[in-house]
Symmetry: C2
Subunit: 287 residues, 2 copies
């Protein structure tokens, strides 16, 4: 079975579109997301453009701040602080990857916690570890949304995550533990990965390598969530050998049009929620 | 092999004792830890007393704030804020468990990040997820210290953690992932726990049940770190069936005198480090 995310996306889009229109009618401004792209990385730039198009299509507003590769850290911090304190900005995201010499933790710490749409401010990551999911990172939330929409049970299931970053693997482990899954986190140093993936009910792969998850690493009962996005022979593919796996496993997400699609919409939905929350608290102040 | 933590403790104690004396000679005050105990919980009260004794023995100072079971939240928050801004307080810890009706996350958020000796402020937990271990929770750090002192390799090893709290299991998973271990986090809803523990190189158990980790759940190669502390037939025991396991596994920590001993000293060491850092930054200000 292919876990098609188009119906989930369609539902999300129509909800966002209506609520964003209502917002504009009520407050005279559009919910607004600001992306920051540092340097010429193709993925980061492409993703900023995708977000921009999608925002416009859904009655919202986007702005992309494209900064040069060698921008001084203090200039980025100034921008993050300005956006954080600007009442007409409702979401802020730094599109990864950023140049290596930058201290990402310092950047993330300067995004206002209530506008941090990808949940990378340390406070938001810590709250997630304490069980509060309101500002969890969006890629893990997209995975959870797909599992939920397809009613895939999680309690007591063995889940294997192949990724240990703060953007995917670690926060996803927190979300899955909150839902009573048994979680194994794997990575480049893992030995006998095949044994682990084969014994798992759900495999979530995010390694950035085409054809990484092979037929012999899965079983007939496996549910595969493919977070990877790679260019391979001129095509966009995930980390799983989709063509072989689709006939073997119990369920698998496609790439493109799988997790990425939902992630994009969750960033936009979060921006809208932030905007509503900000305006509600203003309404209450003026009463 | 029994992983005796007494030599590790002795080394830590002599280092702390000397440095604390130096600190007092230099600054005219002792490094000072404040514990907060809410209600009559036996474990929380006992631990506060143990800390107090140990602090005194190591040329440091402790104070215990014992608050009634029904203390209003705002009163605890006021105390935490006062301690956080008091220059003669270098470490603050809320001894768990606290009464259920209190929102622990709110309490933790009100401990100054630089005095948060058990690393439960969301900011510190988030920084840990981002790879910064300076203010990680002490029980996980105690486990890591024991593994390190006994030169137990972690890279590529399969580690099974039986605990998913923000005090033990989740932060311990982060620390182990930073060290290239493959980490599985288990709990009450885990199915076939025995299969998972048996296949792991290292088993870390923290469930609060005597005789929980049984002979049939381990192998000859298992290294067992027992974080549990329970009363059983009038004796203090851990979560592992120590008497049976000690003759089977490759290595095991005893209870009492295993992880708990090191945890206590790491709280004290952290307080001393905080005190030195605070005074160093003051020295620099007056230059």
């Amino acid at each position: 079975m292919i876990l098609d995310t188009r119906p989930i996306a369609a539902k999300l889009e129509s909800k966002i579109s209506v609520e964003a229109k209502d917002f504009e009618n009520r407050y005279g401004i559009k919910p607004s997301l600001h992306s920051i792209v540092i340097g010429k990385d193709e993925v980061a730039n492409l993703f900023a453009n995708i977000l921009l198009q999608k925002l416009t299509a859904l009655n919202m507003q986007g702005e992309v701040h494209r900064l040069p590769e060698d921008v001084p850290e203090k200039e980025i911090i100034k921008l993050l602080k300005d956006l954080s304190s600007n009442n007409e900005v409702h979401g802020i995201i730094i599109n990864v990857p950023v140049p290596n010499w930058l201290n990402k933790n310092v950047l993330f710490s300067n995004i206002a916690i209530e506008k941090d749409v990808d949940g990378q401010n340390p406070y938001n990551l810590g709250m997630l570890m304490l069980g509060v999911e309101d500002h969890a990172p969006v890629t893990p939330l997209a995975v959870m949304r797909i599992l939920d929409e397809y009613n895939i049970p999680l309690s007591g299931k063995n889940v294997c995550i192949i990724n240990r970053t703060s953007v995917v693997g670690k926060p996803l482990a927190m979300l899955l533990l909150n839902r009573d899954a048994t979680v194994s986190v794997c990575h480049t140093k893992t030995k006998n990965l095949e044994k682990l993936t084969k014994a798992s009910d759900i495999i979530i792969v995010a390694v950035g390598k085409p054809l990484f998850l092979k037929e012999e690493m899965v079983s007939e009962n496996s549910i595969v969530i493919d977070v990877g996005i790679n260019k391979y022979n001129g095509k966009t593919v995930g980390d799983a050998d989709f063509d072989k796996l689709v006939n073997k496993v119990s369920a698998i997400t496609p790439v493109p049009g799988g997790v990425g699609r939902i992630k994009t919409l969750l960033i936009i939905e979060r921006t809208l929620k932030n905007a509503l929350k900000l305006m509600n608290s203003k309404d209450n102040q003026t009463v």
